[in-house]
Symmetry: C2
């Protein structure tokens, strides 16, 4: 850490950042200095150094057992010496393949999506793929733009956080001729592969749980569109089936934070017909509802039961602990990764569709 008195009298403070002077990759050849750094090393350079043909280097790198041990050793040494790495553009241009798996998420700020992407990345990276994530921001426009660039990029495979709704984009993805993974829902006709669960089922299950706990006048809080709409649909069906009254549906366009949930509960409780329980199809909203309930002196679960959807460990730990329906998002990511790898290896998975079970985590909010 260091402070420096500037000429103008202001004090600029710098962090001392940890620096690790490791040996690193062997230096480029000898006195080449800056020259060498500027010039890219190509497969030809490595080949020359190892005294073999470029194609042999290519083979040694991609299929070591197809090259004799001595040449392989020479090549490996030359690679290490030069710090050579394959040019993926040239490689992709010629072969029409790449080792990049592209993922698209509607929203990186969702804990659940991030968790699924993380575990999926781990699986694919272990198999030698580069896993990169783009955002679509819950916008069809952005989604289309993202998928178009993808179309040109020819990744090895595509992982989607969600399912594609625009028919034109589905067509676009289908046309790529590469493995496509959709997730988080259960459409009858996925583009290619799917690891998902039924959102309507989740809604029905919610009604079921509330009924069994004795609630008869319930409210719904959630997103208006997408999976929120599916959960609501299932919830309506479930309420009807059980003879529960759905006293109100509080819908939002977008969830930006717990304050959205606060607003929802405030609005619900301001109505004449108050519910005895709430199903929040989103854990951030549920958290906001729990906080607002406390502020309004609405006791949970005595005055109002709250059931959430998701896996938020925070919601689970905040007294009285949110009861949630959800899925194991890390499992979703792992399963999706495994299916993608199978598909990429040329041995398509036996099942192109994997349905995840809903899990209920009991808290004290019901």
């Amino acid at each position: 850490m260091q402070s420096a008195q500037e000429e103008d009298g202001s004090t600029v403070v710098y962090d001392d950042v940890l620096r690790i002077a490791d040996p690193g990759p062997p230096k480029q050849a000898h006195g080449a200095e800056r020259e060498a750094a500027a010039k890219r090393i190509s497969i030809g350079d490595v080949a020359r150094l190892a005294d073999v043909a470029p194609i042999t280097v290519s083979r040694a790198l991609r299929n070591p057992q197809k090259v004799s041990p001595d040449k392989r050793a020479r090549i490996e040494q030359a690679v290490a010496q030069t710090g050579y790495s394959i040019n993926p553009h040239a490689s992709a241009l010629k072969s029409g393949r790449s080792n990049v798996v592209l993922a698209f998420a509607s929203n990186l700020m969702s804990e659940q999506f991030a968790s699924a992407l993380k575990s999926c990345a781990a699986v694919l990276e272990d198999a030698g793929y580069l896993f990169l994530v783009g955002q679509t921001s819950y916008s069809y426009e952005r989604e289309t733009a993202a998928l178009r660039s993808l179309h040109a990029m020819k990744p090895a495979a595509v992982m989607l956080t969600g399912v594609i709704e625009l028919e034109s984009n589905r067509e676009l993805l289908r046309g790529l001729g590469i493995p496509i993974m959709e997730t988080w829902a259960l459409p009858r006709d996925p583009i290619d592969m799917l690891v998902g669960f039924s959102n309507t089922e989740a809604g029905r299950l919610a009604a079921d749980i509330l009924f069994r706990k004795g609630y008869r006048k319930v409210a719904y809080v959630g997103r208006r569109s997408g999976r929120g709409a599916l959960r609501l649909q299932g919830f309506r069906e479930g309420c009807q089936a059980k003879g529960i009254t759905l006293v109100c549906e509080e819908l939002v366009d977008d969830v930006t934070g717990v304050s959205d949930g606060r607003r929802c509960l405030a609005s619900v409780m301001a109505r004449p017909a108050k519910p005895d329980a709430l199903f929040c199809s989103n854990d951030v909203l549920a958290l906001g509802c729990m906080m607002e309930a406390r502020r309004l002196n609405v006791r949970v679960p005595t005055d109002l039961g709250i059931l959430g959807f998701g896996q938020s460990d925070i919601a689970a730990e905040i007294p009285p602990g949110l009861t949630m329906i959800g899925i194991d998002s890390a499992l979703l990511g792992r399963e999706a990764g495994a299916m993608l790898i199978a598909s990429l290896s040329g041995t398509p998975p036996a099942q192109k569709l994997k349905r995840l079970d809903l899990v209920v985590s009991e808290g004290g909010s019901l």
Copy 2:
């Protein structure tokens, strides 16, 4: 929504997913059908259709004003008709450039990182770049692997969530000859550009705030390494400067959830010398501490003041509301994006270093 009775008696339930049958991009030519879908359209095909040379198509796409209006119109029509999009691999191979900006985050599950990446992405995508995110998972090994693939990929620029510590990786990035953005700290010698803040300063400020509030026996809770270590260092300095006793340092290797924070507080309170206040250098840990305090019947702030670091809106809203030191991570992302764009446009920004102010958000926890 649909249920189907399977032969084995199990019931499979499918979501009906919203499907939008939009017009989409104009269909490929005429009867070409599947053939056309399989064969990629290249710049030559478009050129033939527009009756110009391929290079003219290239120009029309990259620099429309350099092509006469009539030819440009013909080309645009041909592009629309064929649904042509440039092959980025061929383009990158030839030109050594690409429109991909690669970001690397140590952890996608951090709300703050996600927020910064989101706003940075928005800025760069508006400028026509494709913003993709990879993960390094707080591991030097993964970081090195990620950066190596990056080296080969020749992105237009690199955005890093954090600063690079390994000297060999710094060297690697420097050698790329493209704009590099580091963030979240304030090293004296960034690789290229930097939008950050002083973590040691944050630690000193924490000591300052606790002192002013009257606390004299404090504890530290945070990550052992990286920025956590810097904040601790500053905190130690600040405590010494103010004459505050730092009764204990509770360090963790990794933060996976609020339960880590619970454990920390439990451990702190089990010691003989109890603190009257806590500085948590991470908001998830702070949240865990607040929850555990309640469980232990430690009143906040009466028995124990808690000061956090971050921006968590949840922590701010949970009674009594966490007081936090932090930065505006969306601003960080925007500033980084703007500097990258300036640099990419060939007009390097006047300032290659932008220091963000620390902001204190007052809650009731002190």
